[in-house]
């Protein structure tokens, strides 16, 4: 009965709801249950969020204990995901506000005294995980939905389903969907690996000689370069297995980047006269030159989200710098003027998913540091200072960056919050580099 209602209701309640339609991992029935109830009482398109004073800082959130098999893990994963999002303050577990008895009301007054604006309550019933967000100030349930978990607790797919629940909670709390259900591809010891956003499930997906992973916009394929004895190739691997060659290993073929619509792969192709940018169909076929390097070295293309512009590294001025151009290679312009603190060697751009900024690496005092430049006013911000930091890649929230950093003494991947500067270590094995953050997955 709810399903029938849902089909008609979903169509006319605006963006907030449309964004969740069609996510296979959220049961359609549960989705309707969660969305129809609160939206019935409000205007279409108006989001009613958690009640808190944004001027006082991030909202405090309590994550209640979860009973049942792997309940402790669910609580730990959700709490960590919310913490990693950097938009809420996850409060330490409270002994007095323990697991609620079935049917008993939550002690909202106590939660308020502990600093909580929201309470996350998760309940396991078999493989069904119900997640509920309580609004402490209003002493009521704000949102609820049910996620179906895969049968094997702690398996990669199970963890990913819990991450999807975390991302839904973060969206309910802050209005911005979380990025826990995403992965990072990177190069380590000659292979491409994929790791979950929380550092779990590192898996190699290619043979040796592989570099420079780039995600397909649907997050199921990765393009990469492979160095061989006589030249380098551009290949695409499916994350579930299977590899195809896009550009044969004749000459230099490196730094692939999928177009935002997934139909093409831009890459750098080098010959005697220099290295230039080319575009090949993602399904295979002849590539075509897209920028005229005129004998200079041009690498590392990255597309604006609308696919109309590219940023890339070029040595055309006699030293490496980051340039912008139309996607056909015309209207070439340097990203940011050289000035105090902007470095003598700038490279490795990555265009943010919201289109507003380009991250890149810049050599300062003999070491690379990660910087961002806004597209509107070319305002350059330095993001890192500790150790050497390279290869920035934006998270799908356009707020976090994954970089390769030597700040621990060995080169590893770190996630940096560009708004607060907070850093967390993503990989433990030494040598991780060239990370690429996937789009949001599992929706």
């Amino acid at each position: 009965m709810m399903v029938t209602n849902c089909a008609t209701t979903r169509a006319d309640i605006g963006m907030h709801v449309v964004r969740t339609v069609g996510r296979a991992s959220l049961g359609a029935l549960a989705l309707c249950g969660a969305l129809v109830a609160p939206l019935a009482a409000q205007q279409p398109g108006v989001r009613v969020g958690l009640t808190y004073d944004a001027r006082a800082g991030k909202p405090g959130v309590l994550v209640l204990p979860v009973s049942g098999t792997a309940g402790d893990s669910i609580r730990a994963i959700v709490a960590r995901d919310l913490d990693h999002g950097d938009r809420v303050t996850v409060l330490p577990p409270s002994a007095t506000l323990g697991a609620p008895r079935a049917g008993a009301p939550l002690n909202y007054a106590l939660a308020a005294r502990l600093g909580a604006a929201g309470i996350v309550q998760a309940t396991l019933r078999g493989t069904a995980l119900e997640i509920v967000l309580h609004d402490v100030a209003q002493a009521r349930v704000l949102e609820r939905t049910t996620v179906t978990l895969p049968a094997t607790p702690l398996a990669p797919a199970w963890r990913r389903a819990v991450h999807v629940a975390s991302d839904q909670l973060e969206e309910w709390i802050t209005g911005v969907r979380g990025i826990a259900a995403s992965r990072i591809a990177y190069a380590l010891a000659g292979r491409i690996w994929i790791i979950d956003s929380d550092g779990a499930n590192a898996t190699a997906v290619t043979g040796t000689g592989a570099l420079s992973p780039s995600w397909h916009p649907l997050g199921e394929q990765i393009a990469y370069a492979e160095l061989e004895a006589t030249g380098s190739a551009i290949r695409v691997t499916d994350v579930r297995g299977g590899t195809r060659t896009i550009v044969e290993p004749r000459g230099l073929n490196i730094s692939p980047a999928f177009t935002p619509d997934g139909t093409g792969i831009a890459y750098a192709h080098g010959e005697d006269v220099g290295t230039d940018l080319w575009l090949a169909p993602a399904g295979g076929g002849r590539g075509a030159r897209i920028a005229l390097g005129r004998g200079s070295d041009n690498t590392s293309p990255t597309f604006s989200p609308d696919g109309r512009r590219i940023a890339f590294t070029s040595g055309r001025a006699g030293y490496p710098d980051v340039y912008l151009a139309d996607a056909d290679g015309t209207n070439i312009d340097v990203l940011a003027p050289r000035g105090a603190g902007s470095g003598s060697y700038r490279a490795s751009p990555d265009w943010s998913p919201d289109g507003r900024a380009v991250a890149f690496q810049s050599r300062i005092d003999g070491r690379f540091q990660v910087m961002t430049a806004t597209l509107r006013d070319r305002d350059v911000q330095r993001i890192t200072a500790e150790g050497a930091n390279e290869d920035p890649s934006w998270a799908p929230d356009a707020r976090h960056l994954v970089v390769s950093s030597t700040r621990s003494g060995a080169r590893q991947l770190w996630v940096i919050d560009t708004q607060t500067g907070r850093a967390r270590q993503l990989t433990r094995a030494a040598g991780g580099r060239l990370p690429a953050w996937s789009p949001r997955l599992g929706r």
């Binding site: 006589t230 005697d272 290295t275 590392s300 590294t313 030293y319 490496p320 490279a347 490795s348 390279e390």
Partner: protein, 202 residues
């Protein structure tokens, strides 16, 4: 014999060139600073190898009193030609220009390639680890291409010289020091055909 003299001159020039570039001339009477740059050390090692080989060749020749090439003489000549062909050339940071030293080494290769027309080479361009990974691959190709162009401009068929780049992916020396970086900014030469002809004289 003429080749040996020529080689000695080349190696000496390499060593001198390295000194001239990397170190100011000390004032008379001053103690020269002990600075062991990579280029100097490489040149010194090459010179030591070269003089040892020449000494051995001279001893062999004297012992046999051979006026015609012997089996050992042929092998020594082949080893010599192989060493000349595969000696690496070195570059400055973020540059693909050939130094005087590199040109002299390439002139040595040029002579061998002219004498042995079936020999083909693959030139691999490498960089130090200080640049950006992807840009380094383009820079490595530029170095290999500049090296190839030098030889092609002097008459070697382009089809005999292939190029490849490994950027900073295959360092020769590890560590973060000027010495290690200098050793890694290099062009390497691999004989891909005609190796068997190196022992033959025209």
């Amino acid at each position: 014999m003429r080749r040996s003299i020529f080689l000695g001159a080349v190696v000496g020039a390499v060593a001198l060139g390295a000194c001239r570039r990397n170190q100011p001339v000390p004032p008379v009477g001053a103690v020269a600073p002990v600075v062991d740059t990579a280029a100097q050390r490489l040149a010194r090692e090459a010179a030591a190898r070269d003089s040892a080989a020449r000494a051995q060749a001279a001893r062999d020749a004297a012992a046999r009193g051979a006026a015609t090439p012997t089996v050992d003489g042929v092998a020594a000549a082949a080893a010599e030609a192989r060493r000349i062909l595969t000696a690496p050339v070195f570059f400055a940071f973020d540059a693909s220009e050939l130094s005087d030293e590199a040109r002299q080494l390439l002139d040595g290769k040029l002579a061998v390639l002219q004498r042995h027309p079936t020999v083909t080479l693959r030139i691999a361009g490498h960089t130090d680890a200080r640049g950006a990974t992807e840009y380094n691959l383009a820079l490595g190709l530029r170095r290999a291409s500049a090296t190839r162009k030098y030889l092609v401009d002097r008459g070697i068929a382009a089809t005999r010289l292939a190029v490849v780049s490994f950027g900073a992916e295959r360092p020769l020396a590890s560590g973060e020091s000027e010495d290690a970086w200098a050793q890694n900014r290099r062009g390497e030469f691999e004989i891909t055909a005609g190796d068997a002809s190196l022992g033959r004289t025209r």
